[in-house]
Symmetry: C2
Subunit: 278 residues, 2 copies
C-alpha cells in the first residue's frame, strides 16, 4: 500500500495550502529583489549564489519552522533541519541562479514536501513568467489554477518530432562517463532542447514538452517532479544515483509522458532503481 | 563607405518609430489570440503554422503597404512584395510557432528593415515576456527602453563557463553534413543551451548569453540580428549560405560578443563570407 494514504486528506489540504502560501511569499521576495539590486558571488564549485537565494531560503525556513516546528527541512543553501522527521520540506530557493543573475525569466523556485520518503506536494514557481505548476497527493496537478491532464503520446508520434529536453553534455560527464549517451540522444531525438533549470520540468509538467531528462541533479532539483508527474498522468523514473564526496547523492531521472519515458530509459542500460533518500 | 549613411537621420527616426508601432500592434494581436483560441496546422515540411501567424503577417503587411507603398516586404508566410525595392521589410510574424502552439513564452516576432541589403532597423518582440529588443542604425540597441552595451569577454573568461546557445543537432545535418561540428561545439563549450527560436537572439542581444549560433536559418529568422549586434557592440558573422531548392537561401551565422564570435568561427573551416540577399 502507498504509505501516503496514511495521511488524512484534510492534512494534505492544509499542507498544500501552506506550500502555496510559502511560494507566494517567495515570488514576492524575488520580484522585489529583481526590481532593486542584489549581491552575486561564486561558490567554490563556480556556481552562482546571490543574496536573494540565501534570503528566500532563510525566509521559507522561518515560515516552515513557525508552522511545523517538528518537520525537517532540506535546502540548497543551508544544512538540514530535523533530518529524522517523517515530513521533509525540500527546496531550491532559486533553481537556475545563473539565469536569475542574467535576468533570464526561466529560473524558478522549487518547493516540495515528502512524507517518509514519498512526495506528497510539489510546486515549481517562475516569478518572472507568472507561471506556477503544483500538485498534491490525490488532488491533481495544476498549471496556475488550471488542472493539467497530460495526453499520452501515440507510439507512432515518436518519430523525431517528440519534444525532449536533454541536459547539456557536461552533465553526462560530470559524475560519470556517459557522454556517449548524450551523443545517442541528440541523434535519435532531433527535436531536442537544452534548457537549464526547472523551466524544463515545468514545460514537461504542462505538456509543452514531452519529456525531460535530468543527469547529476541534487534532491532539491527534482523533489517536486515525481508528484507533479503522478498527478498529471505522467511518469517519473530515477535512472541512477551516485554518492558524490562532500556533496551527497545526485541522481539521473526522466519525467514525462509514460510511453516516451519508457523509451528513453532504454538509453541507460545499467539502471539502478533507487529510492530517493530524504 | 557604409551606404546606410545615405539615409537622412530623420528618415531613420521615422522608420524606427513605425517599426515600433507595427510591433506594438503585433504584440496586441498575439496576446489577444492567446487569450482566445486559434487554428493550428502543419506545413508540408511538418513545421507548424497557425491562423495567428497568417493574420499577424497580413496585418503588418497591410500597415507597411499603407505607410510605404513603394517598399518591399519579405515574410515567412506570403510571397515577396516589391522585390526590387531598395527598402525591404523582413518579418517572421511568429518565430517559434511550435513554442507558441504550446504556449511556451519563448516565441517571438521578428521585424527588420534593410536598405540596399544592409540592415537599418531590427526588432525582436516577445509578447508573453513583455520583452523587446530593438536597434536602429546609429541610434543604439535597446532592451525594452533601456540602452544595451555589451561588455566584451576577457579571453581568460572563455574557460568553459561562457554561455553559448547552439542549435539542435538536427540543424547541422538538415542542409549539410556538419554533425561533427555540433559534436565538437558541445564538448568544448559545456555551458551550452539549446533554445529554439529568436529567444536565443534576444538573450544574446541583452548579454544574458555570450553568443548564439544559427544553422540553416532563413533570412527572416536572422534579419534583425546584425543591426542588433552592431548597435549593442557585438558582432554578427555569416558563416555560410546554401541555396535550398524550392525554399531559397539559408545561412549559418554567429552573433555575440566579438572575441567569442571570432573563436566560434574557427569551427567552420570553409567559411564563405556572403552578403545576405534581400
Amino acid at each position: 500500500m502507498d504509505i501516503r494514504h496514511e495521511i488524512p486528506k484534510h492534512d494534505i489540504e492544509q499542507l498544500y495550502a501552506k506550500a502555496l502560501e510559502y511560494i507566494t511569499r517567495s515570488r514576492e521576495m524575488i520580484r522585489a529583489a529583481l526590481a532593486s539590486d542584489f549581491e552575486v558571488r561564486r561558490k567554490p564549485d563556480k556556481s552562482f549564489v546571490t543574496s536573494v537565494d540565501l534570503r528566500v531560503e532563510e525566509h521559507l525556513r522561518g515560515l516552515i519552522q513557525r508552522d511545523f516546528p517538528e518537520h525537517g527541512i532540506i535546502g540548497e543553501e543551508y544544512p538540514p533541519t530535523n533530518p529524522e522527521a517523517m515530513y521533509q520540506w525540500i527546496m531550491d530557493p532559486i533553481d537556475g541562479t545563473e539565469d536569475f543573475v542574467q535576468r533570464l525569466p526561466t529560473f524558478g523556485t522549487i518547493l516540495a514536501l515528502h512524507y517518509r520518503g514519498e512526495p506528497i506536494i510539489g510546486v515549481i514557481d517562475h516569478p518572472m513568467l507568472d507561471l506556477r505548476v503544483s500538485a498534491a497527493f490525490g488532488r491533481g496537478a495544476y498549471h496556475n489554477n488550471k488542472c493539467v491532464k497530460l495526453i499520452e503520446l501515440e507510439p507512432a508520434a515518436i518519430d523525431g518530432s517528440e519534444r525532449v529536453v536533454i541536459p547539456a553534455r557536461a552533465n553526462f560527464i560530470k559524475y560519470s562517463h556517459d557522454g556517449h549517451v548524450f551523443d545517442a540522444l541528440v541523434r535519435r531525438h532531433p527535436n531536442h532542447r537544452i534548457y537549464r533549470t526547472c523551466f524544463a520540468h515545468t514545460c514537461t509538467a504542462i505538456g509543452a514538452t514531452d519529456a525531460t531528462i535530468d543527469y547529476g541533479t541534487a534532491i532539491w532539483d527534482i523533489a517536486a517532479n515525481r508528484i507533479l508527474m503522478e498527478e498529471a498522468g505522467g511518469k517519473f523514473s530515477v535512472i541512477r544515483a551516485w554518492d558524490v564526496p562532500s556533496f551527497g547523492q545526485v541522481t539521473a531521472s526522466i519525467m514525462g509522458k509514460p510511453i516516451l519515458v519508457d523509451q528513453l530509459m532504454k538509453y541507460f542500460p545499467a539502471i539502478h532503481a533507487v529510492k530517493l533518500t530524504d
